[in-house]
């Protein structure tokens, strides 16, 4: 039995109804496989006791669950109104320059995926950049090269 299988059984037991373990199980499989590949969906479905199709139908609804490969690191720049008002677009463009890719793309070495994202709930600390789901606050264009350097150095 895989570690994921064991962990998903524990998740199923932590709810009155095992169906509620779907999202946490998908998140686990995503973490393990890097994205929800066909293998990841199959492993997740086996552990839950359902089909890969059910898992994919649910996963495709959610923004954080990727059905196509993404970079080892994810950089998400909030471009909703509050961040945009203080220069989020310029931050996003600086990331494009530093990483030499367009928003929505992954660097050729598979390291970093860059994308704009909807409001991250940090409007008072704009611009918010989520790096591997940890928020960087008050990000300015001049901070971007340091963030990219940190990612490349594996910090």
């Amino acid at each position: 039995m895989s570690e994921l299988y064991t962990e998903v059984q524990r998740l199923k037991d932590s709810y009155p109804d095992w169906h509620s373990a779907m999202l946490p199980a998908l998140r686990l499989a995503h973490e393990k496989h890097g994205y929800l590949s066909p293998d990841a969906l199959r492993e997740c479905a086996d552990a839950l006791g359902t089909t890969p199709a059910v898992c994919e139908a649910v996963a495709s609804f959610y923004d954080m669950l990727h059905l196509k490969p993404i970079g080892r690191h994810m950089v998400e720049v909030c471009t909703n109104v509050s961040c945009a008002l203080v220069g989020a677009q310029q931050v996003l463009e600086r990331f494009e320059q530093e990483l030499d890719i367009s928003a929505g793309e992954t660097t050729p070495d598979g390291e970093v995926t860059l994308r704009p994202i909807e409001c991250l709930g940090g409007c008072g600390w704009a611009t918010i950049v989520s790096v591997d789901h940890h928020y960087r606050t008050h990000v300015k264009p001049e901070d971007v090269s340091r963030i990219v350097q940190e990612l490349r150095n594996g910090e």
């Binding site: 999202l23 946490p24 959610y62 945009a84 928003a103 409001c119 409007c123």
Partner: protein, 440 residues
């Protein structure tokens, strides 16, 4: 901010620590509530006139009273906390969970006692890593403290990125492991909620307000604020202000005071143009409409609302068509796709607004925009599309001259000087065939 309730003691002490929280009298309200019967707790909260802090402003005590008694419905009761804060402009629940996690948990346990629930599910937005970690640590500290937990199980359930899951029935669907699409109402969650059982769904701030209410008494709490909007509110102020952040205010404080006293005035001392008062879903206020109380009735008189208390301040460089585009693109991206008027309508709104901005729109398209908005209103299962339509229609209503100028001058009078110029939205990353705008 003399009357902090939610954030009481939180700036002086580290209330993420159980010992610190208990040293300030933390969890005493829970002990007090348990000496009272469930009905007495509901009565106390009703007396406080507390109304839900998530956005709909529904009286909390009345919501709890809807839960059928065990002899009326044998199914277990559930408390589900909506911690899926995703409304553009709102970031208060983020800070409440990160700063006063134990006050929040205490509120959940008091509520569970009032509605006789043994399970509490906190549906926390997937992107909120830090608040999640703070709550995990807080619950870890509570392990073995049966004097506090008393047989109640608290489950932290993480979302996976979907604004719509902040809508309570979509949240319940998501919590049941499905796509987060809203349900038809009725039945309301109080009757058939999670696992088709009686369920109370409350917001984070509402929960964090419960312990102080039980502590000082409902009548005392109701002395704060103004009629129909009692107590305090944590307001998120962002955009073009010098001191953005969360501020706990007494309801009824003027919008002017929020911007100029708490927010410190407009960045670079520019002129105020407009304020979004309660998150992106609310009707915008013009610069000359800010001498109004930040409370339910005062804002209702201007056809707007406190919503989720996200105050977004815009200076005079901002183009209202560009604002419309960005807001419309947000709702287009977040529409769950279940109801046609919302799924298609938000897309149409974006397209027409883009034509206006580019100078390609003809006169009739301005009316077409309002017509599309009108055809979304009241025709969907949930308020998502409706609020998009109301918000964008309010920009046209209050800045009609500016929209007209885009038609007359064949383009945007602000262009690149507006900070909302050419902002890349997530929806623009998706490829889909453009919708042709129907000619007159």
């Amino acid at each position: 901010m003399a009357n902090e309730v939610v954030f009481a003691d939180a700036y002086e002490r580290d209330l993420t620590k159980l010992a610190e929280y208990e040293a300030t009298g933390g969890y005493a309200a829970l002990a007090k509530a348990r000496t009272m019967g469930p009905q007495a707790v509901i009565d106390e909260v009703s007396a406080s006139e507390l109304r839900g802090r998530g956005g709909a402003f529904f009286p909390t005590g009345r919501k709890w009273a809807f839960i059928p008694k065990p002899d009326q419905n044998p199914n277990p009761h559930y408390l589900v906390v909506n911690a899926d804060e995703s409304e553009p402009g709102s970031f208060k629940d983020n800070e409440i969970m990160a700063r006063v996690p134990h006050r929040f948990i205490e509120g959940c346990l008091i509520t569970a006692h009032a509605v006789e629930a043994k399970w509490v599910f906190v549906y926390i937005r997937g992107e909120y890593t830090r608040p999640y970690e703070v709550l995990v640590a807080a619950l870890e500290e509570l392990k073995g403290r049966e004097d506090i937990l008393d047989g109640v199980t608290i489950v932290l359930h993480r979302g996976a990125g979907a604004y719509i899951c902040g809508e309570e029935t979509a949240l319940l669907e998501s919590l049941e492991g499905k796509r987060g699409q809203p349900r038809t109402k009725p039945p309301f969650p109080a009757v058939e909620g999670l696992y088709r059982s009686p369920t109370v769904v409350n917001n984070v701030e509402t929960m964090a307000t419960i312990p102080p209410i039980i502590d000082i008494g409902g009548a005392e709490y109701a002395k704060l604020g103004v009629p129909d909007s009692r107590g305090t509110r944590v307001v998120s102020i962002s955009g073009h202000v010098k001191r953005p952040g969360n501020y706990e205010i007494e309801n009824g404080t003027s919008v002017r005071s929020l911007i100029y006293d708490l927010g410190g005035g407009i960045t670079e001392d520019r002129e105020l143009k407009a304020v979004i008062p309660g998150g992106s879903s609310t009707v915008i206020l013009r610069y000359d409409e800010i001498d109004v109380g930040y409370d339910f009735n005062s804002l209702l008189a201007l056809k707007t609302a406190m919503g989720s208390a996200g105050v977004v301040v815009l200076d005079d460089r901002c183009c209202m068509v560009q604002l419309g585009i960005r807001i419309s693109e947000f709702y287009e991206h977040e529409s769950c796709g279940k109801c046609t008027p919302c799924r298609e309508g938000t897309r149409w709104m974006t397209q027409i607004l883009r034509r206006l901005e580019a100078g390609d729109a003809e006169q009739h398209e301005l009316d077409l925009l309002l017509d599309v908005c009108d055809r979304i209103n009241g025709k969907c299962l949930c308020p998502l599309g409706e609020t998009a339509a109301i918000a964008v229609a309010s920009y046209v209503d209050k800045f009609r001259g500016e929209f007209q100028q885009h038609v007359d001058e064949g383009g945007c009078p602000f262009g690149e000087s507006s900070p909302l110029h050419n902002v890349l939205a997530p929806v623009a990353m998706h490829t889909h065939s453009p919708v042709a705008v129907v000619p007159a």
